[in-house]
Symmetry: C2
Subunit: 246 residues, 2 copies
């Protein structure tokens, strides 16, 4: 369904990193040929309408519920962890044995859970409401996130990373790339809260640095293809949701 | 790592259906030999301490973040969709081709998103607080869930199910079993809200019936192994969170 010459097509909102960034990082780290379709101009079939077309008239197979969506030859896939599981072996971003692939997917799904909880710090009531219209609940949820959930997640990933260069042990994988993105996002969204947590996660911080220095990732981060974090994405810097300064 | 004679071990809270039920249904539908470890008496190594041991001293590989946890020979796996992806081919619960496996995982992950949103209707602020201590936010979140999110999810799955006996088309799969469980749970937790939605999902209701009549599932549902829904699980019947009666 795809081969080394496949030009992948990514469909994701063109103005945010969001969950699509987890896929962009795989493609960039591996130097895989891809088109970030919605970031192309409309006259080249790009823009948001390209995403809406894919949602409205999906090709055969399971329809996508939401972006990111990856087209690889005839196959159209949605859900970040599913796309990672598919791309991993093709891009050399996961060891080939079944145990490693399952452990990678397990870690990736736990990252997805963390990302969903980050999203809900600013949208605890409804994605259909503005942040400003659920700000009181957001303050409560963010406080609980920083006090309880974030330490629990980071402690878990720190244990998974400790003693090895990579989350899967001796092999770099797509999970490292997603972990990098989550750490970048947390540092952006919760500078005070993350600074407080950082002393407890030396292995994760070393991993973050190691990923940032990978040639494909470093080139990507320095390019215009890397969108900045902003307050339309998942990781939003709302000072009132961050930890109180000590 | 496992073979047809593998006796699977499931580690999940013994007093609720919760996310563990999605795994129990696979094993039961397939008639696979398994031990629901934490439901065994303590003198047989069961009870909640068995889960805590697995969390505290995980075997080699990626440590589990939370139950459900499946032990299959030497391999220990967590995260529902990951366990389904692993068990699917072994139990004949997903077609073998890569496209079908990816589409199954995609649908399963979208079911997981729906389940997480159901959980957050009663715990919108923090899992560490009692429902009663976040009831006001829960009312708002549940209202938004029933008005916007539930119709969106059910509409999506109805389109995926329409015109075919199964969610993957002509082949029964683990996704059907999870969809069944979610529909059962929604009908339990939101009897009024679900009744309102039911008229829009004929294909899903037919699928639910078809799954309920499968020999393995029917035998399981009639057995004492099937725990009842209750207000400690994910699907909780809190009348104040249900749709207003019309």
């Amino acid at each position: 369904m795809s081969n080394p010459e496949t030009v992948y097509e990514l469909y994701y909102w063109p103005s945010i990193q969001g969950r699509g960034e987890l896929i962009r990082l795989l493609l960039e780290d591996a130097g895989a040929p891809y088109r970030d379709v919605a970031r192309l101009p409309p006259e080249q079939g790009g823009g948001v309408p390209a995403i809406l077309r894919m949602l409205k008239e999906p090709p055969p197979g399971a329809p996508p519920f939401a972006p990111p969506i990856l087209k690889a030859g005839d196959l159209v896939l949605a859900q970040v962890a599913n796309i990672c599981q598919f791309l991993g072996p093709r891009l050399g971003l996961v060891p080939g044995d079944e145990g490693s692939r399952a452990h990678a997917l397990q870690l990736q799904l736990t990252i997805a859970d963390l990302v969903a909880e980050v999203h809900d710090t600013h949208h605890p009531i409804s994605s259909a409401l503005y942040y400003e219209d659920q700000q009181e609940a957001a303050r409560e949820r963010a406080a609980s996130f920083l006090a309880q959930r974030l330490p629990k997640f980071l402690g878990y990933f720190e244990r998974a990373a400790a003693g090895s260069p990579y989350l899967l042990g001796s092999a770099h994988s797509y999970v490292d790339l997603s972990m990098f993105q989550v750490l970048e996002g947390l540092a952006y969204a919760f500078p005070r809260g993350f600074e407080g947590a950082a002393v407890t996660i030396p292995s994760l911080l070393a991993l973050r640095q190691r990923v940032a220095e990978r040639p494909g990732v470093a080139a990507y981060l320095a390019s215009e293809r890397r969108l900045p974090f902003n307050e339309d994405g998942i990781f939003r810097r709302y000072p009132e949701l961050d930890a109180a300064s000590s």
